[in-house]
């Protein structure tokens, strides 16, 4: 087994009496792209600052490439960081910004120049080298900030919400560029964001955090399809996962799921795969999590897991590629992702097809996953 490029064990961080990070355990292999994601105030940026050595940790350990980092200053950690505000030195030209670190470390001028040329070419900032940061657009500043990190050629790159100051179009462009860079350089990256789409598109491994506690670690696929709890389920994905209170009754190999409705008969669905957390014959309250794409138009070639029910439509939102249709189930608003050509008006009823093969089930009070 290779040494993990970064491993964090039992890390705690307190500000006075407030615990901001609790029992953090994460490890990544060389070449991995780790994304820390969570709502603001969840401690993800603090964790990144701890990895960088900009904040002291209270207890636990951080190893970078097998080397203990406690008491090691940021400059000796062999890392490079890109900041949300870019943090370019305002009085220096782009070239000086990029080479400042090398100059401080006493690297000879010829090496500085060749590294600068290399990175400038890679990021296409050659025409900007003699400008000051004040004369650059947001996207250009972003690229310079990345250039400053790249020339270091570090063991680990740290990105602190690097795209959140850019407009929507540029953000998508830069996202692609970061992904490309990750492939071409095979770099190890820790990336902080509050944007779950950024997390899904960039990461090879996602850490979802809330209130300083890791909720789940997994590949984007695991996080999206098998969320560990209701928080992860509702945080990741847009529109977010429908979470519906229901009653589950296990009999035989499958489970009967009953959802109350404001008007008409309760909706009765059957999950033939069963729910591992519910024993045969047991009946209990659950929360069923279904992504909008698992509630669709009924189609001819439906599998056994897909069941059709007629529901009343509250809101219709066409987005062009899809039409999102909202209804009510179990006292909750439910979003279904229908075909773009679905013609339905609010107040009318239509058939919804529920695909339970992708369903997640949660314990109502703890929010933990059942299946």
């Amino acid at each position: 087994m290779t040494t993990p490029i970064l491993s964090i064990t039992n890390l705690y961080k307190n500000y006075g009496a407030t615990e901001v990070l609790k029992e953090i355990n994460v490890a990544i292999e060389p070449g991995e792209f780790l994304v820390l994601v969570g709502p603001s105030g969840c401690g993800k940026s603090t964790l990144l600052n701890c990895i960088a050595g900009l904040e002291a940790i209270t207890s636990g350990g951080i190893n970078i490439d097998g080397r203990g980092m406690v008491g090691v200053s940021p400059k000796d950690r062999d890392i490079a960081m890109v900041f949300q505000s870019y943090a370019l030195y305002p009085t220096m030209t782009v070239a000086k910004n990029v080479t400042f670190g090398m100059k401080v470390r006493g690297i000879d001028a010829a090496t500085q120049q060749s590294k600068l040329d290399e990175v400038a070419k890679l990021l296409q900032i050659e025409p900007l080298l003699n400008r000051k940061p004040g004369q650059l657009s947001g996207g250009q500043r972003q690229r310079v900030a990345m250039g400053r990190a790249l020339v270091r050629d570090p063991k680990l790159f740290l990105f602190d919400e690097p795209l959140s100051n850019l407009d929507a179009k540029l953000r998508v462009e830069m996202r692609t560029q970061i992904k490309k860079l990750h492939h071409t350089l095979n770099a190890s990256i820790v990336y902080v964001t509050h944007d779950q789409i950024e997390a899904m598109t960039l990461a090879t491994k996602i850490v979802v955090m809330k209130d300083g506690i890791i909720q789940q670690i997994g590949t984007p696929d695991e996080i999206y399809n098998n969320p560990a709890n209701m928080f992860v389920a509702s945080f990741m994905g847009s529109p977010s996962m429908n979470i519906i209170p229901a009653k589950a009754k296990a009999n035989g190999s499958g489970v009967k799921v009953i959802i109350e409705r404001a008007e008409g008969e309760p909706l009765k669905l059957r999950d033939a795969n069963g729910i591992s957390g519910i024993a045969n014959g047991e009946e209990r309250e659950i929360m069923i999590g279904l992504r909008p794409e698992n509630i669709t138009n009924p189609t001819a070639q439906a599998s056994a897991d897909v069941q059709v029910a007629n529901c009343k439509v509250d809101v219709v939102e066409p987005t062009g590629s899809d039409t999102f249709v909202t209804t009510h189930l179990g006292g909750k608003e439910i979003t279904a992702r229908m075909n773009a050509d679905t013609r339905v008006r609010p107040g009318e009823s239509m058939n919804f097809a529920f695909d339970l093969s992708k369903a997640s089930y949660f314990v109502p009070d703890t929010g933990e996953r059942l299946n």
Partner: protein, 298 residues
């Protein structure tokens, strides 16, 4: 009819009203400018008149004959008490006090501001509050303790002593200026520099000082004006030979016996005020720019 004519007719009454308001505004400004320039005008014309003409002519009248001899007397011949060397030696005393005091207090203030705004430590806010408090301590309160301290340090009555006093007294202001300027600079800049491998002093020198030109100008003007114009510290902590120009000016004006030489007094007063005037003329526009620089992010 074309649209343009229509708009023209519409705009006319407004334009007339605007022009009238503008004229009123300028008239007001000119009036105030004249009012404030009057004393300077009187000083300049009086300094260029002969004593006879001052006695017979009007205060506001232009000199019939320009006579610059008063300026020469003020510079090198007027008597301050028993000595009659003019302002010259005291002018240089003031330069010797003001230049190092401005330099040292500005450098220390920049450094303090950098530490307080960017390297928060336990109690940094309290220290800043205490330094701020120093700005509001009246001069009179410090005079006695300062005199004792200067005596103990062995620099009482010396130029060094006056430099020391002005540096200490100015530190509160210079720290405040730099702290408020640096507080608008995101802390991420320090973080980035730390990761780049720069240390505490390197970051100050390479990142923060180059950013500071506008606030340096503000601080230098402020400190220079304060120190050059200071009278109380100058008169309290100096002795014969180390007095600054303000004290000497007072002595020239007050200690003449016999005929009062108004032209010499006026010339001396202008000479004493000239350096601060010069600083404003040369660096005034940077002063305004620097005062507002904190609110405009670059």
């Amino acid at each position: 009819m074309t649209d343009a004519t229509y708009i023209d007719q519409q705009a006319n009454p407004h334009r007339f009203k605007n022009a009238l308001l503008r004229a009123g505004l300028y008239a007001m400004l000119v009036l105030f400018a004249l009012y404030y320039l009057m004393p300077l005008f009187v000083m300049v014309v009086t300094s260029l008149k002969s004593l006879d003409e001052i006695r017979t002519g009007s205060l506001l009248g232009l000199p019939r004959e320009i006579d610059v001899s008063a300026w020469g007397t003020a510079w090198s011949g007027a008597c301050t008490g028993i000595q009659c060397e003019g302002l010259q030696p005291y002018f240089w005393n003031s330069v010797l006090i003001a230049v190092p005091a401005v330099f040292i207090s500005t450098v220390l203030g920049a450094f303090n501001g950098y530490v307080i705004s960017q390297w928060r430590f336990k109690g940094s806010n309290i220290i800043f509050a205490l330094m701020l408090f120093g700005c509001f301590v009246p001069f009179q309160v410090v005079i006695l303790p300062m005199a004792i301290l200067l005596g103990k340090m062995g620099i009482a009555g010396s130029i060094t002593g006056l430099i020391f006093v002005h540096v200490i007294y100015g530190l509160g202001f210079t720290t405040l200026f730099f702290r408020n300027y640096y507080i608008s600079i995101p802390v991420e800049l320090v973080k980035a520099a730390l990761i780049d491998g720069a240390g505490f002093f390197r970051i100050f020198w390479s990142v923060f000082l180059p950013l500071s030109a506008p606030i340096v100008v503000v601080t230098v003007i402020w400190q220079f004006t304060q120190i050059w114009n200071d009278f109380l510290f100058g008169v309290s902590f100096s002795q014969a030979g180390t007095q600054p120009i303000t004290v000497a000016l007072n002595n020239i004006v007050n200690s003449t016996t016999g005929v009062k030489e108004y032209n010499v007094d006026m010339a001396a007063a202008i000479i004493a005020a000239l350096p601060t005037l010069l600083v404003y003329v040369v660096a005034g526009k940077y002063f305004i720019r620097g005062l507002t620089a904190g609110s405009v992010k670059g």
